[in-house]
């Protein structure tokens, strides 16, 4: 809801389509393309006529913009739909900075914060500066970079449960890096990373909070 607050405050009309479900990444990443296609087709049909689609997740965004074309290889009709739709799909921070061209949203968040680069936002969408630029303009916010900012949190979808011990070990390394900054909050643009980090931070007994970038930008604290 924080993302809706931010966007509406900027004057955009925000719609939520009750038909929406999932971008299809879980099946796609597990090798089940037929099932992924069914769900991706549902996404295309649900959002086909929207002006702009803003996604509060780097991972879902890159699934749509970087993998739909491959998923529908050989299906000319769907491929056409993908070509028409993907230029209008943006990750939240990408939309704010690159499309809407805002960086100061008048937010205030008087805390020491560290930013976790989610893998797909960073490496597939190339979003390194946009979220940091937005955080840089927030009143009272002190951004401290952690050593392992670009290292994976270990979530990886089904990887987190199929290879739980490895995923957990990766999360613990990340947690150490977060804790070393002395930050009170860790911010990211992907809820799945934040869920992994929140779980690992809590398990290790740390009181550091995980917050989505939208929550920081919506805050007037």
């Amino acid at each position: 809801m924080a993302m809706v607050d931010v966007l509406e405050r900027l004057g955009f009309t925000v719609e939520f389509r009750r038909e929406q479900t999932c971008c299809a990444q879980p099946a796609f990443n597990s090798g089940y393309h037929t099932e992924a296609r069914t769900v991706a087709a549902h996404f295309l049909d649900t959002f086909g006529d929207a002006d702009t689609i803003v996604v509060p997740s780097g991972s879902c965004t890159s699934m749509i913009t970087h993998h739909y074309a491959e998923l529908f290889a050989g299906d000319a009709k769907r491929q056409q739909q993908v070509r028409e739709l993907t230029p209008r799909v943006f990750e939240f921070s990408q939309f704010l900075v690159d499309v809407a061209q805002f960086d100061d949203l008048g937010a205030s968040f008087p805390h020491k914060v560290t930013y976790h680069d989610s893998c797909h936002a960073l490496r597939e969408l190339g979003l390194k500066d946009a979220p940091r630029r937005l955080l840089g303009k927030v009143r009272g916010l002190e951004l401290v970079e952690m050593g392992a900012a670009e290292e994976c949190c270990g979530f990886g979808g089904l990887f987190s449960v199929k290879f739980a011990p490895i995923s957990g070990a990766m999360a613990r390394t990340k947690v150490e890096s977060i804790v070393a900054t002395g930050a009170t909050h860790v911010v990211s643009v992907d809820s799945s990373c934040l869920m992994q980090l929140r779980g690992a931070l809590a398990r290790a007994g740390h009181r550091i909070e995980t917050v989505h970038l939208a929550e920081v930008l919506a805050s007037r604290g």
Partner: protein, 454 residues
């Protein structure tokens, strides 16, 4: 093989080992970043693009370049041996050793020889092959396989090495690294002088010159190919590049990607045996070109790019999974992201079906690959093939797809499902074994949205 979970857990629980892996790969990783930084190497991205293009081109015309390479080697008085299997490669060396009455072989570091278990095959016929790279030498004494493509003994501390030396060489325990290196040097000098054959790998094979290119830091490879009377280089057929002049691109990338070195200490370009009037070099020069599954990969256009790999090991150092589980939990000698990609292709998909799935698909490997292999893309492709052969989770995903195309049902089930998030079974139990599960919000987004729009 199923996931070697017990072995993985053991590695994860070994604090010393964890520290060794994480710090050593971390150092390589950092050195690499510095060595390819825009201030130091502004043309880095261009070099990658060019290297990938050269490799792709060579693979597309490999038949032509292989034959060109063979003629060039022969023109310089060398000989090319075509080995379709590891066994054939080993048989050639065994036969050669018999003919030359050689009982000792010195070897420089070669993953290709590890891949075909060359030492074991030779030992089986009472032919001693001694590893001369310090790391490989330590591992040979310890009876271990390489832990890392580039730095084979990255997991061992100087204390571990001291133990191995004391036990196997019968010397007094010494934990000073310089002294350990001197010990190895003393032992190995004797071997270099006594060996009848020197076996090396090859980092590149230049087709136009018939040249074997070997990159190293210790000088042991140079001794291996120049001291004994016979030099045998073993190389996979994918090591070809068209011309010696293409080396500029690859040498700029290889050392930097591997260890952050602009150039390694020694680069040898060897073509043919000692010529008339030359003082150094072997009298005989052979290149064993190994297939061992490579032509099968070559025929697969979708995954052919796996053969572009120049074995720099950068993907291992960047990989958060490798940095946790280390090299010995992978089923074959090739570990890390590239190991996950090539092992199923070389050894057959059925053997270790879990391998392509043991990745969070974070993409750190592809980011550092000097020849731009799309490792995550290849893993996805391998996953697809794996589930086509064994669709274990198909029902689950069918049900999921059914639900995801019925939004009302999805909304309802999500509401109900969250109430059961306390259940201790299946994926939830796996999740909780490692971390906490988030508190369930009181109201769903859908409910909040409804209220907001009232």
């Amino acid at each position: 093989m199923r996931v070697p979970e017990a072995a993985i857990r053991k590695t994860l629980a070994d604090a010393n080992l964890q520290l060794a892996i994480y710090t050593n790969t971390g150092r390589f990783k950092e050195n690499r970043s510095k060595a390819v930084a825009a201030e130091v190497l502004p043309e880095y991205q261009e070099l990658r693009t060019r290297a990938a293009a050269i490799k792709r081109h060579t693979l597309d015309f490999l038949d032509v370049y292989l034959l060109q390479f063979e003629s060039a080697v022969e023109a310089h008085g060398g000989k090319v041996i075509w080995a379709s299997t590891g066994e054939e490669a080993a048989d050639f060396i065994l036969k050669l050793a018999k003919e030359r009455a050689a009982s000792l072989i010195v070897k420089s570091k070669s993953m290709t020889s590890e891949e075909i278990d060359l030492n074991e095959r030779l030992a089986h016929h009472e032919l001693e092959a001694v590893e001369t790279d310090l790391g490989e030498y330590i591992l040979q004494l310890a009876g271990q396989k390489p832990f890392h493509i580039v730095a084979p003994a990255i997991h061992m501390t100087r204390n571990d090495v001291a133990d191995v030396f004391t036990e196997k060489l019968g010397i007094e325990r010494d934990t000073v690294i310089e002294n350990q290196a001197m010990t190895a040097r003393r032992v190995l000098r004797e071997k270099f002088l006594a060996a009848g054959i020197g076996v090396t790998g090859a980092n590149f094979l230049a087709a136009d010159a018939g040249a074997v290119v070997i990159v190293e830091n210790e000088g042991n490879a140079r001794l291996s190919h120049s001291a004994p009377p016979v030099h045998v280089a073993i190389a996979g057929i994918e090591k070809l590049i068209p011309r010696v002049r293409d080396l500029g691109v690859f040498l700029d990338l290889l050392g930097r990607s591997a260890s952050g070195q602009a150039l390694t200490s020694y680069t040898s370009i060897v073509s043919g045996p000692k010529r008339a009037g030359e003082l150094d070099g072997p009298e005989e020069f052979y290149v064993v070109l190994l297939d061992a599954g490579r032509t099968k990969l070559l025929a697969d256009k979708e995954k052919r790019e796996s053969l572009q790999c120049i074995r720099c090991g950068a993907c291992l150092n960047a990989c958060p999974v490798y940095r946790k589980i280390g090299g010995h939990n992978y089923p074959w000698v090739y570990s890390g992201p590239i190991g996950k990609v090539i092992t199923p292709q070389f050894q057959g998909r059925g053997k270790d079906p879990w391998l392509p799935f043991a990745s969070s698909l974070c993409g750190a490997c592809a980011e550092v690959c000097p020849v731009k292999i799309d490792i995550p893309g290849l893993l996805l492709q391998l996953r697809r093939e794996a589930v086509a052969a064994d669709p274990a989770d198909r029902l689950l995903f069918r049900a999921w797809a059914w639900l995801m195309t019925r939004p009302a049902m999805y909304g309802m089930l999500a509401r109900i499902g969250l109430r059961f998030s306390g259940v201790e079974m299946g994926p939830l139990a796996a999740w909780r074994a490692e971390r906490d599960f988030p508190a369930v919000p009181e109201k769903s987004f859908r409910a909040l949205w409804k209220e907001r729009k009232k």
